[in-house]
Symmetry: C2
């Protein structure tokens, strides 16, 4: 049996862990090799360079995120229903991949143009974001949704959904919460966020 696939996958898994933990500049190829229990040279054999390897990990993260948006925001359901789906699926996904938001944020700071083009390409495939924003405007005209600039609307939802996962490292320390406890809080927040949007964004 050929062990190629295993090594290749092992490297990806290790790289994901190390890059997410330390960011691009802080990550060491040696640390990735150690984590994958293989030799440093293997990293280059399979992925040629640090930048290339990092790109693979970032692609995976972008895929994961854009998938959430596509699944939740496509179709013809009312805006508030779509939001409910987004809140739920995003929370579940991040609970399983806790450090993805921070990782993505670092990359945005490091190389905003590269990140945005990756993300936008994904979302433009089916015009997901564009269509959703049009739908918001429609519902605003129909006086279902409160008239509010689209960026403000989007910013508000994303704040409530994403920030708690970014701030996790602080909050667990300040309030002495366990990982499981925090995940539970995130679960409770699903309803809280929906309720807040309902009370403040609908007419």
């Amino acid at each position: 049996m050929n062990s190629k696939k295993n090594t290749e996958a092992d490297i990806l898994k290790a790289a994901k862990k190390i890059f997410i933990q330390h960011g691009y500049a802080g990550a060491r190829m040696q640390a990735i090799a150690d984590e994958a229990k293989i030799n440093k040279a293997m990293l280059h054999y399979y992925y040629r360079s640090k930048e290339a390897l990092f790109g693979r990990i970032m692609d995976g993260a972008v895929d994961l995120m854009s998938q959430q948006f596509r699944k939740a925001l496509s179709g013809t359901a009312p805006v508030m229903d779509k939001l409910k789906a987004l809140i739920s699926s995003y929370t579940d996904t991040i609970n399983q991949n806790p450090y993805i938001p921070i990782f993505i944020l670092n990359e945005i700071a490091r190389n905003p143009i590269n990140f945005q083009s990756k993300m936008q390409r994904k979302l433009e495939e089916e015009n997901v974001l564009q269509n959703f924003m049009l739908q918001i405007m429609e519902e605003q005209e129909k006086e279902i949704l409160r008239p509010l600039p689209i960026p403000q609307f989007m910013l508000t939802v994303m704040s409530l959904i994403v920030f708690p996962h970014i701030a996790k490292p602080v909050f667990v320390r300040v309030f002495g919460i366990s990982d499981a406890g925090y995940a539970g809080m995130m679960e409770d927040r699903k309803e809280l966020i929906y309720e807040m949007m309902q009370k403040t964004m609908t007419l």
Copy 2:
């Protein structure tokens, strides 16, 4: 005239810019020297090491943030009034120092324990945070505020206040907003955030 003070301050200013832009691991001493228009050796002459220099910058950022909390949350005003003050002063401060939140966030990821001890020491000086949380509980008992676990309450406020500044790099690109336009949005959000808290957190 002695130019010592100028150089020393120049370095700090340059270091702030470079560290904030690239994070600790990504920042280069050479880049800081270039930015300050002095020699690399000078950095070590004044601040001995990269880590020490970074520490100074971080201290400044922590000071700035903890000051906001102390000013807004001390005293005997009702919780909602304090929040209004916090929303306003925090927004103003960040509009003038746009990348502080991302910088702090990166440091939390890099060295959570060190950061938290710095921050906590600042806030413990006058028991700011502790007292504020007690006040929230009091108002919850008096049925002014909705009964909600304190961490959830804090997480919600902080999400609405902080996240928009973190997400700025993405949003300006996705929506094609100028820096001034974004600052304006943040200004508008002051009222929006207060209103959301009012509608969803008070009884």
